[in-house]
């Protein structure tokens, strides 16, 4: 149900969210502090330019959410009582408008846009009789068209939302009413209702799980709609409510009271308690099924509605993405304000001139002035305001919106950014930032899942100080893997293979992104198994190691046709569990209290799981407390080396050697996890348990409490060893990085991985090259950080004096240093240093540090930043950057949902930036400049004319013809150019990445460029007026002796303008498709047809100013010679200037065009851009 609506309206993780499990693979080695990051992003919510309307809506929401009391109270099976609390019903509304509110609300919204409001005021002024020089509707007409187009777009989008809402609100579910389940519409479900949901149905509200069809009262849910994770999650009801089962009598007589927190957007936490039979039972997120999730592998469940409608967590999270505007749009808005002031100045000057002219010509009888000079002047101010109002282009925004929408459409439909393996095309989630993609200077990228595939493969391990999996027998032929030592392993291997083929089918069925091609285990060492069977100490170590791998995780096994699918939210865990299985420790199933393993495919063993201390990126570890089959009480722990080593007992036998191994692993680019355990004393455990239970029922700060208590028991660990998991680079990453670097984009890799891993990956993806000098800053204290940064900066300055190539430096900083380096003024030193390095790698950074780094660059350099990431921990960075890009990968869709564009693979970034970004930048830059130019060219002629008409503000142009200027005569060619224009072909852009610098260097849109266009417009307007005026001086007669007159003169100017302005655009167009031809020549033809037809109109009630004019002037040679002369004088400058620039000061794109022209196809085929080959190959098309 929510799948389609959720894609556009809903975004999880905006608030203070508890850490999702799947962050394990990122957080395992990182310093992350997700909570902080999300708090940040929440705090920032209000700072985004969300528009006035949104602020109002937020305000209203806040008022409505003024909940009473500390918590929500729900009386089970007591409908009347619940009504007293006036909880919202389950009606969900994602639509913005209703039939009644559409017009006022939409208009209001549109008028919040400054330009629209301005034109509204001008339109109102025009309605004052006697003020307007150009009739009453010259502004209102185009404005209405502009508003209508935008409103239609909005209406269509809202219509879709309405349909979706209706579908949701009018679906039914079974609700317990009067001792029986009846079908009730979703919108009529109330808080406190007991409902029944069947397999593959969606939850209609947030409900408390009471009982299920399964043993132990468990059930599985799929949360893809909520957070994009496709793995199943297990939920389990409280033991105390299991007795309800499916017994109608029990259910309807069930009595109790629930107290829980007020509605909030935290998807991964819930605090509440159930009061029944004099007992207070804690309820956690484990017992809560959220709206939007789907019941899976469970016949039915019964649940109690906790939150309904807009109080559900799903709806709480459906915030709109923060509105980002591109640099060009921001500058444009500034220029508009600037132009507005110039226009005011012009109007004032003209009004003063009008007053003084009136004063000196007062006695002119033919004008019979009645009002005083000052009043004349004053009123004329309004006249001039209207006359010049369109110097600010009215059609700019609507033109831009249409063009950007189509540009986004082209991005979505680019076959070369389509990832076949996952069936994901590129997706522009906003069209606001297309041109921003062409101006990127700093690129921040996550490593895991962005540069790498995030498909974890178990490669090696170190157990008891011995490395396994180090063998060189890399028989990589997938069909014939190294012969396993024992038949067991062979079986297991087959199992894994089957498993994977199986899961590939099921993954398709489940719409899962899980790996199809890659085995989660790639291990070639027989020694491990022989050591395991050797009955030594090492054997014990290995056994315990494998136990931990098989038991300490949150993977959910799914039985299907006798095979087991592991539903892991983290690829790392998946790899570990599969590896355990590979070694004969197969995890078969779990229930609430137990984990079952099958040893070597024969022997079933059971671990009683007493507690699970879950992973979060602050803890960077996960532990389980189990009772082993032989009755020992054990704590199994796996986690990042930094946190595990802190918690080891003294006198570790393997610590030192393991550290060496960890470094070896890391320098091979492998991800590591430490495995440790300890035996617990029953007494100690019991005492700890009490404290833990208090913490886990706390309503306030529950998570922090649990973390604190968990800390207490996770001590005195015994280190067994470490695992090493490979995360392969994505296809084409090194090439892509090379191209991006050549394009002048500075790459910063921000990763949670260890320094060695990061550097190694840096080399393998060619971010770092052997010629580069690595500047590694790794300090623990603030003072040292300052000293080190300053030393490096001094080095740098002495070196740049000695003219050595300073480009070849790479900065490596780790999270600890960043903690200090991002504070206060130190960050400027860091920035200065980083600016001088061609690559920056930051390791062990937390999500909030990622965002801080992005902001550091964004706020302090005048550069456009882009952040790429794939996981929840990248969300804050993606939102902070000018442009955020999500890789739709293994980690669900959180990153994509908060991103501006999403792509399937990192390498598509090349095409997105170098081709689409650069094209859009060029198209939009030209479009904005041209829109201003064409209006200035037209309207400033009115100024020249007003000098000669007594500063009276008389218009030269007929009103209807003038009205259509922006919406017909000059509307289409610029739109077509905004969609189709290319200066050089895509292949050349990829082959010569330097061409990308057009955007970052602001060649096509900057203050001087913009004012150049404006001045050009003024020059053209002068030509448009002066040449025809001089030619018809003293009313030069036509060949028939008749005189020229005002509107004939105006029409000559106007026709010359239409021709020139369209030809001016033609000069800018480099890529002439038939559509361009049609639009350009068609516009002119349509204009002449119009004046020919309109010239025949002479009806009562119409001021037919142009009646017959075209036929009169059309008889004179005068007219045609002017139409030839004026465009040539005007465009002479443009044409000559273009040529001189191109010829004597060629820009790289000029050269590229010439290259392509001079030896055309030969050139292209000669070098099929090795760097780009991957893309063309993939599509099976050649360029």
């Amino acid at each position: 149900m929510m799948n389609s609506s959720s894609t556009n309206s809903f975004r999880p993780y905006n608030g203070n969210v508890e850490i999702p499990l799947q962050d394990l693979q990122n957080g395992a080695n990182s310093n992350s502090n997700l909570n902080g990051a999300y708090m940040n992003s929440m705090d920032n919510d209000d700072d985004y330019e969300g528009g006035f309307v949104q602020k109002v809506q937020n305000f209203i929401l806040r008022i409505r959410d003024d909940f009473i009391g500390n918590c929500r109270t729900i009386h089970i099976n007591n409908h009347e009582y619940n009504l007293l609390y006036k909880y919202t019903n389950n009606y969900v509304k994602t639509s913005k408008y209703s039939l009644v509110t559409f017009v006022p609300l939409n208009l209001f919204e549109q008028f919040c846009r400054l330009a629209n409001f301005y034109f509204l005021i001008v339109s109102c002024l025009q309605l004052i009789p006697g003020v307007s020089p150009t009739g009453r509707f010259t502004t209102l007409g185009p404005l209405c068209i502009v508003l209508t187009v935008t409103a239609l777009k909005e209406a269509y989008e809202d219509y879709k939302r309405h349909k979706e809402d209706d579908r949701v609100n009018y679906s039914t579910t079974e609700v317990l009413r009067n001792s029986s389940f009846v079908h009730v519409l979703w919108k009529d479900i109330q808080v406190g209702d007991i409902i029944k949901v069947y397999d593959k149905q969606f939850m209609p509200a947030d409900i408390l799980l009471l009982s299920t069809s399964e043993p132990d009262s468990t059930c599985f849910v799929e949360t893809a709609n909520l957070d994009g994770e496709t793995n199943l999650k297990m939920k389990q009801s409280l033991e105390e409510t299991q007795f309800l089962a499916d017994d109608l009598n029990q259910l309807s007589s069930f009595n109790g009271l629930i107290e829980c927190e007020h509605p909030n957007k935290r998807l991964y936490s819930f605090s509440g308690s159930l009061l029944m039979e004099q007992k207070v039972l804690p309820i956690s997120i484990k017992q809560v099924l959220l709206r939007g999730t789907m019941l899976r592998n469970t016949k039915w469940i019964n649940g109690l509605v906790l939150y309904s409608g807009r109080d559900t967590k799903l709806m709480r999270n459906s915030n709109t993405t923060p509105l980002k505007r591109s640099q060009i749009e921001k500058s444009t808005n500034h220029y508009i304000i600037f132009i507005f002031f110039l226009q005011m100045l012009l109007c004032t000057a003209c009004a003063i001139a009008n007053g003084s002219w009136t004063a000196s010509n007062r006695k002119a009888f033919y004008l019979s002035f009645t009002r005083s000079n000052a009043v004349e002047g004053g009123m004329s101010f309004l006249t001039f305001l209207i006359l010049f109002n369109n110097v600010i282009p009215i059609s700019l925004y609507v033109t831009m919106e249409i063009v950007k929408l189509i540009q986004a459409y082209l991005i979505n439909n680019d076959a070369e950014m389509y990832h076949k393996e996952t069936d994901t095309p590129a997706l522009a989630r906003t069209s606001n930032l297309n041109e921003e993609l062409g101006q990127i200077e700093y690129l921040f990228t996550d490593k895991t899942g962005t540069l790498t595939q995030n498909k974890m493969i178990f490669k090696k391990c170190s157990i008891g100080g011995i490395v396994y999996g180090n063998e060189t027998n890399n028989n990589r032929s997938s069909s014939n893997q190294s012969t396993p030592a024992t038949p067991n392993v062979l079986n297991n291997l087959d199992d894994i293979n089957n498993n994977n083929t199986n899961s590939s089918i099921s993954s398709k069925l489940h719409k899962s992104n899980n790996s199809v091609n890659l085995q989660p285990v790639d291990f070639h060492d027989d020694k491990l198994l022989s050591d395991l069977n050797s009955k030594t100490d090492q054997s014990h170590n290995i056994q315990e190691f494998l136990n931990i791998m098989a038991v300490c995780h949150t993977v959910v096994p799914e039985q299907e046709d006798g095979k087991i699918n592991y539903q892991a939210s983290s690829p790392d865990e998946n790899a570990l569990v599969n590896a355990a299985k590979f070694f004969g420790f197969e995890f078969t199933h779990r229930n609430q209290k137990n984990v079952f393993l099958k040893l070597n495919g024969l022997e079933d063993i059971r671990f009683e799981v007493l507690q699970v201390l879950e992973f979060n990126s602050e803890r960077k570890r996960m532990s389980v407390i189990v009772r082993s089959p032989n009755g020992k009480l054990l704590l199994y722990c796996k986690g990042a080396d930094s946190v595990i080593f802190e918690r080891l007992a003294p006198n570790q036998p393997y610590a030192d050697v393991t550290i060496n191994h960890l470094q070896d692993f890391a320098s091979e680019g492998l991800r590591t996890l430490c495995i440790a355990y300890c035996e617990l004393d029953q007494q100690v455990y019991q005492e700890w348990l009490k404290e833990y239970q208090i913490a886990s029922t706390a309503i306030i700060n529950r998570e922090a409490e649990i973390d604190r208590v968990a800390e207490i028991i996770e001590t005195n660990l015994f280190l067994l060893g470490a695992t090493a998991i490979e995360d392969k680079l994505q296809k084409g990453v090194p090439e892509a990085i090379n191209i991006l670097r050549e394009a002048g984009i500075k790459l910063w890799v921000l990763t949670g991985d260890k320094q060695e891993t990061a550097i190694n990956i840096g080399y393998s993806c060619q971010l770092l090259t052997p010629e580069m000098e690595l500047v590694i800053i790794n300090e623990q204290s603030k003072e040292n950080t300052i000293v080190e940064l300053n030393r490096r900066l001094n080095d740098l300055s002495t070196r740049s004096n000695s003219t050595e190539n300073k480009e070849q430096m790479a900065l490596i900083v780790d999270g600890n240093t960043l903690n200090h380096a991002l504070e206060g003024h130190i960050k400027y030193s860091l920035l200065k240093l980083a600016k001088n390095c061609s690559a920056v790698v930051c390791c062990r950074v937390s999500p909030s540090q990622k965002a801080q780094l992005v902001r550091l660059v964004k706020d302090n350099l005048a550069s456009v930043t882009l952040a790429v990431g794939d996981g929840a921990n990248d969300v804050s960075m993606i939102q902070a950057a000018h442009v955020g890009i999500g890789i739709s990968g293994e980690e669900g869709l959180q990153a994509c949902r908060s991103s501006d564009y999403s792509i399937g693979q990192f390498r598509f970034l090349v095409r997105l930036l170098l081709v689409h970004g650069r094209y859009s930048y060029r198209r939009i830059s030209k479009l904005v400049c041209y829109c201003f130019y064409k209006n200035i060219a037209l309207y400033i002629t009115q100024f020249w004319f007003t000098i000669f008409n007594g500063w009276s503000g008389q218009t030269l142009y007929e009103r209807y013809t003038l009205t259509a200027y922006n919406v017909v005569w000059t509307f289409f060619p610029i739109i077509i150019m905004g969609i189709m224009e290319k200066d050089v072909s895509e292949s050349i852009l990829i082959e010569h990445p330097k061409l990308y610098q057009l955007g970052p260097k602001k060649i096509l849109f900057s203050f001087p460029v913009f004012w150049g266009w404006v001045l050009n417009g003024i020059y053209h307007s002068f030509v448009f007026f002066a040449i025809p005026a001089a030619a018809s001086y003293k009313s030069n007669a036509y060949s028939g002796g008749e005189n020229s007159e005002l509107f004939a003169f105006g029409l000559i100017c106007f026709a010359a303008i239409i021709i020139t302005v369209n030809l001016k655009l033609a000069l800018e167009v480099r890529y002439w498709t038939w559509v361009n031809h049609l639009a350009t020549w068609g516009s002119m033809v349509v204009f002449f047809c119009w004046i020919l037809i309109y010239g025949r109109v002479n009806a009562k009630g119409i001021d037919s100013d142009l009646f017959d004019v075209i036929y009169r002037i059309g008889e004179s040679a005068h007219f045609y010679f002017l139409l030839l002369l004026v465009p040539i004088i005007a465009l002479w400058r443009d044409f000559g200037w273009k040529f001189v620039n191109r010829y004597y000061k060629p820009m790289p794109h000029h050269i590229a065009q010439e290259l392509l022209k001079s030896n055309d196809s030969k050139y292209v085929s000669k070098r099929t851009f090795s760097s780009y080959a991957f893309d063309t190959q993939e599509l099976g098309q050649s360029d």
Binding site: G130, P133, A224, N361, A364, F365, Y366, S368, T383, L410, N412, D414, A415, Y418, K420, P425, F948, N949, G950, M980, K982, H992, K994, K1001, I1027, A1030, S1032, Y1033, K1034, N1036, A1037, Y1038, S1039, G1041, E1042, N1043, L1046, F1049, G1050, R1070, Y1071, W1072, W1074, N1098, K1100, H1118, F1121, L1125, I1128, I1129, G1136, F1139, R1142, K1145, P1146, I1151, A1152, L1155, K1157, S1158
Partner: protein, 321 residues
């Protein structure tokens, strides 16, 4: 959540538009076409310009100001003393058709207040009594300025119609023979036929003048674009050319002192380019010369220090710095 989609269902369609592969012509400004264009424009324009000047030179135009002649001054028209004469010398014979114009300087017929002050429906001979529709005629709608009684509506209303130029001209040869001049055809035929119709003599309002189809009136109603303008008055159809000199007898009514205006009589022939205005010809020649010179300079430069097309060294953004 439909799972039954065929594989690769989201693959974008491979159409020329979606993949931005529409066939296109990609012209670039290479030296050869640019130089040729400049030189060609130069040559063609100079030729056109020369041709225009030669034909405009054949146009004979005589302009005589008369408001500064004592007898023709403002306010001299009282008591029948409003007649004055001017003589136009015609050294070169003027072949018919010869056009007689009057010209006014510093008269802002293009003033906004003036241009809009008319009512087209009324001028079409329609009796308009709705004050709303007459609003454009401000400030001359009614005789008392108060829009209360439809009987006081001015016919014609508005500034243009009420400030019609009313000097008249008669033309005599040196021998004082009356020269017959044509009035029909001085206005646009379309105006005469459709836009202007006589107002009913018994129509509502204070009718000061109702012959709206009068061509002098129509010519006046077509407002001029610039403050110095001439308007066609009469046409001399011949058959003999005008020679020697002609005397123009002026009946002087129209005051111009209030706005520092000047009045002229203009006698002119016309060419295919219209009246005597060499501007367009000179403009063509100047533009032609500039383009030609520019083309030649580019040509020389191209031979002396050519830039290799597609020179890779310029692919560097710093090449020009």
């Amino acid at each position: 959540m439909s799972n039954d989609k065929e594989p690769y269902s989201k693959k974008p369609a491979n159409t020329a538009f979606k993949q931005q592969k529409l066939k296109a012509w990609e012209p670039i400004l290479t030296p050869a076409p640019v130089i040729i264009a400049f030189i060609a424009i130069g040559v063609v324009f100079v030729i056109i310009g020369a041709f225009m000047i030669s034909s405009t030179n054949k146009v004979i135009e005589h302009t005589i100001r008369y408001d500064d002649i004592p007898a023709c001054r403002d306010n001299m028209g009282i008591d029948g003393k409003n007649k004055c004469d001017i003589t136009i010398n015609i050294p070169t014979p003027m072949k018919p058709p010869v056009y007689l114009y009057y010209r006014l300087d510093n008269f802002y017929q293009n003033h906004r207040r003036y241009v809009k002050s008319r009512n087209d429906d009324q001028l079409r001979g329609i009796v308009v009594t709705d004050f709303n529709k007459l609003k454009d005629c401000e400030p001359l709608i009614t005789s008392d300025g108060e829009n209360s009684s439809i009987d006081k509506i001015l016919v014609p209303c508005g500034l243009i119609a009420n400030s019609k130029f009313n000097d008249t001209f008669l033309m005599f040869t040196k021998n004082n023979t009356y020269i017959n001049l044509r009035k029909k055809g001085i206005a646009w035929t379309s105006d005469v036929e459709t836009k202007f119709k006589d107002y009913p003599a018994n129509g509502t309002g204070i009718i000061t003048f109702n012959k709206f189809s009068d061509e002098d009136f129509i010519v006046w109603m077509r407002t001029a674009a610039l403050p110095d303008f001439k308007k066609l008055y009469r046409i001399y159809d011949g058959p003999e050319p005008l020679t020697d000199s002609v005397r123009v007898e002026i009946t002087n009514y129209y005051p111009v002192q209030s706005f520092n205006g000047k009045k002229y009589v203009v006698l002119s022939t016309a060419s295919w380019m219209g009246g005597k205005n060499p501007f367009l010809g000179y403009a063509y020649i100047i533009v032609g010369i500039i383009c030609f010179v520019q083309g030649v300079v580019f040509l020389v430069k191209h031979y002396v220090s050519p830039r290799k097309m597609g020179d890779m060294k310029y692919l560097d953004w710093n090449a020009n710095k």
